[in-house]
């Protein structure tokens, strides 16, 4: 892992906390926290299938 990736991993507890607290304080499910990289055309419809799947 490079320095940037290590920095993100090192802050995992903070990351989890930021979104755990958010989920507790809001009735809205955070739509974007999901695994997997973008698929398809990044400038167009990448991730769209996943977005629709979650919505439905």
């Amino acid at each position: 892992m490079n320095n940037l990736e290590q920095k993100i991993r090192k802050n995992k507890p903070l990351f989890d906390q930021q979104f755990e607290n958010k989920n507790k304080s809001s009735s809205v499910n955070l739509p974007t926290i999901k695994t997997g990289f973008s698929d398809g055309w990044d400038k167009g419809w990448g991730n769209y299938g996943k977005a629709m799947a979650i919505k439905k």
């Binding site: 991993r9 802050n11 990351f15 989890d16 958010k22 973008s38 055309w41 419809w45 990448g46 977005a51």
Partner: protein
């Protein structure tokens, strides 16, 4: 485009028995008129292999188009850049603003209970107004927004070259989303997904990357790969990026030999250099072919303004706003 092209394409897809996402876009696909569009679409009707999406500026959406979208399960994307002041570049043939017609088209979609997403172009005028932009899209009724920062590609020569302002834009946009996450933002979503992947994968492996060929078919059946923006581009050394023609061969046969195509080879070299040099590689996966070529004239190049504006600064903004140490 003639129906003969889509007939042949459908024939090849059905023979291959592969799931295919058909994205009707580039220019304005609805400008063909519904009658002609139905003729183009006819060979795909009812196919279990096809998912249809259409990207449109929505200005001519009426009840007939909505009924067609619903009947055929089309996913609909609307091109709108924000509130009226952000849409000065979206004009009709006589130069009149298209904004009100776009809103009318969106209202038609809502009347027919058709979900829609948005792709928005952000230019210099919008960079300092992220909060207004986010509020607008929340009220518009879309479920998802993709943000394209204006870039120098083919016919468009304008671009954004201001790292600090771009970083502030993403920071402000992330804050707005974090406080009120009722719609999905493609760029934020992709970055957070990568964060989570990094955090949760015991054996994070970027070697799993596969080249996304993303074949685009022109009106005359010509095929280009890697980036739709290459379609119509001029590059004699690469045969203007054309790798085949639907009328003459199966698109899947073209795919089988794609690694021998000169510009695909060059792009792959560039991706490998990105992988060796760039800390953000496991997120962006080597960038976009069209940006490499139109910005540098060289597919083997690495960082582009697109990388900085739409990948790196997004990651940096989230790291800043989440107060990572």
């Amino acid at each position: 485009m003639l129906p003969a092209i889509t007939n042949k394409l459908a024939q090849d897809i059905f023979q291959e028995e592969r799931d295919v996402k058909l994205l009707w876009h580039a220019g304005e696909p609805m400008a063909s008129g519904l009658k002609h569009f139905k003729e183009l679409y006819a060979p795909f009707v009812g196919s279990k292999y096809i998912t249809n999406v259409i990207q449109t500026n929505a200005t001519i959406i009426d009840d007939s188009w909505c009924e067609f979208f619903k009947k055929n399960d089309f996913y609909v994307g609307v091109s709108i850049d924000g509130p009226e002041w952000a849409n000065s570049n979206r004009v009709g043939r006589k130069g009149q603003t298209a904004y009100n017609d776009i809103l009318k088209g969106i209202q038609k979609l809502k009347d027919h209970e058709i979900d829609f997403v948005v792709i928005a172009v952000v230019d210099f005028n919008t960079l300092d107004r992220a909060e207004e932009l986010y509020s607008f899209f929340c009220e518009l009724g879309c479920s998802w927004v993709g943000i394209n920062l204006e870039e120098n590609e083919c016919v468009n020569q304008r671009e954004i070259c201001d790292d600090d302002r771009v970083l502030r834009f993403w920071e402000e946009l992330f804050d707005c989303w974090y406080k009120n996450p009722i719609i999905e933002l493609r760029e934020i979503s992709s970055a957070l997904s990568w964060f989570q992947e990094l955090n949760d994968s015991k054996h994070f492996n970027i070697d799993e990357y596969h080249l996304d060929l993303l074949a685009s078919v022109a009106y005359n059946g010509d095929i280009v790969v890697l980036s739709p923006e290459l379609l119509g581009g001029k590059a004699p050394m690469y045969n203007n990026f054309i790798v085949g023609n639907v009328a003459a061969e199966s698109i899947f046969d073209v795919e089988k030999n794609i690694q021998e195509v000169a510009y695909v080879k060059d792009f792959s070299k560039g991706v490998l250099t990105c992988k060796a040099e760039c800390e953000y590689f496991s997120f962006c996966r080597g960038g976009q072919a069209s940006n490499k070529f139109y910005e540098t004239g060289d597919f083997t190049s690495t960082e582009t303004k697109y990388c900085r504006n739409s990948k790196k600064r997004v990651v940096d903004a989230i790291i800043n706003q989440l107060n990572f140490q």
